[in-house]
């Protein structure tokens, strides 16, 4: 089965993505329609079959999590090329957020610098519901990642850059915000 959208396997595309990632003031790229359609449906099906564990640390987060294996040589190769890092397999955590879920900044949960890889498995998520993954430098500048099903975001978190997930409000009741998140060390 094809894994990535064939456009992302083209040398010209990979070069553009790498250049955009490595040479931006905010080192991040968001790639739409990233996976092959059938592969993406398979990821969503796998997500739906996971057993999630609810986690609540009131002063930091509320969401459900599960481990998620995504063996994809095409993905590993693509990420290695863009980030210039050697990658064998990326370990993802699946996050499921519904109404009243969130992740906020907390001094006890500071993430060390690294490269985040975020796969959005939520189709048609309305931004009015909250649930937006947002990066902040702690000095007032914020970088929200626009939600888009079948998108892949690569974000380099340099020192002081942290992320949070906006509170999911009551318009997200009975909806599910599904994300796969990994950090490349």
């Amino acid at each position: 089965m094809a894994e990535l959208n064939s456009i992302y396997l083209k040398e010209e595309t990979k070069q553009k993505v790498r250049k955009s990632f490595l040479h931006s003031d905010f080192p991040a790229v968001i790639l739409k329609d990233f996976f092959d359609k059938d592969f993406y449906l398979e990821l969503q099906r796998k997500m739906s079959s996971l057993v999630f564990k609810k986690e609540t640390v009131i002063l930091h987060h509320s969401y459900a999590v599960s481990n998620f294996r995504l063996p994809s040589k095409e993905l590993d190769s693509f990420l290695s090329f863009v980030t210039k890092k050697k990658i064998d397999e990326v370990n993802f955590t699946a996050y499921l957020l519904t109404w009243k879920d969130y992740m906020i900044l907390n001094d006890r949960y500071i993430e060390k610098p690294g490269i985040d890889v975020i796969i959005d498995l939520t189709d048609n998520w309305n931004t009015d519901r909250g649930g937006i993954v947002t990066y902040t430098d702690g000095r007032g500048t914020v970088y929200p990642l626009a939600p888009a099903g079948n998108s892949l975001a690569i974000v380099e978190r340099k020192k002081n850059l942290q992320k949070y997930i906006q509170y999911v409000n009551h318009y997200g009741k009975e909806k599910k915000r599904m994300l796969l998140v990994a950090t490349l060390k």
Binding site: V57, I58, L59, M103, L105, T134, Y167
Partner: protein, 161 residues
């Protein structure tokens, strides 16, 4: 109410971060409005500060902060403790009534292992009610999400010491 009319003339800015989403004025201590000036003069008066000291047993100085907030549909303030240098007492004066269905309750958490545990007290805003509490490492509280088109209007701030 005169306070509501005075606030109607103030500029509210949207405030949004990981922890909150609502509308808020700048610090009202510098407002030119006569009603607000009178309110501030009462709230920072020696008599009121002495009363607060007597009730709370906390040593206060004359400094206060005061601002107005409006919470609308989906607005919220997630759990936190209000701790910042010098803050001793947090207060909020509710200027309108909400029903349970509107959301917007002020909820307090108990603590376990020095962190927030479960909600132990919920206060639904009623016009004219003043709520105040000691700011400490354990004063965990939240403003629950607004669920309807009703606005939640408050005057809030802190006493310092």
């Amino acid at each position: 109410m005169a306070l509501l009319q005075a606030l109607d003339k103030q500029e509210f800015q949207p405030k949004q971060a990981d922890l909150f989403q609502f509308l808020q004025t700048a610090d009202l201590l510098y407002s030119d409005d006569s009603v607000l000036k009178e309110f501030i003069s009462v709230f920072s008066s020696t008599e009121l500060i002495n009363l607060m000291q007597s009730v709370t047993k906390l040593k206060l100085n004359k400094k206060i902060d005061l601002f107005a907030s409006i919470y609308q549909d989906t607005d919220f303030l997630l759990p936190h403790d209000d701790q910042l240098s010098g803050r001793k007492i947090a207060f909020m004066l509710y200027l309108n009534d909400l029903d349970e269905k509107d959301g917007g309750a002020l909820a307090f958490y108990g603590s376990k292992n020095k962190t927030a545990d479960r909600i132990v007290k919920r206060i639904i805003p009623r016009a004219g009610t003043l709520v105040f509490f000691e700011v400490s490492a354990l004063s965990f509280h939240t403003v629950e999400e607004m669920l309807t088109d009703t606005q939640r209007i408050t005057l809030s701030g802190w006493f310092y010491g």
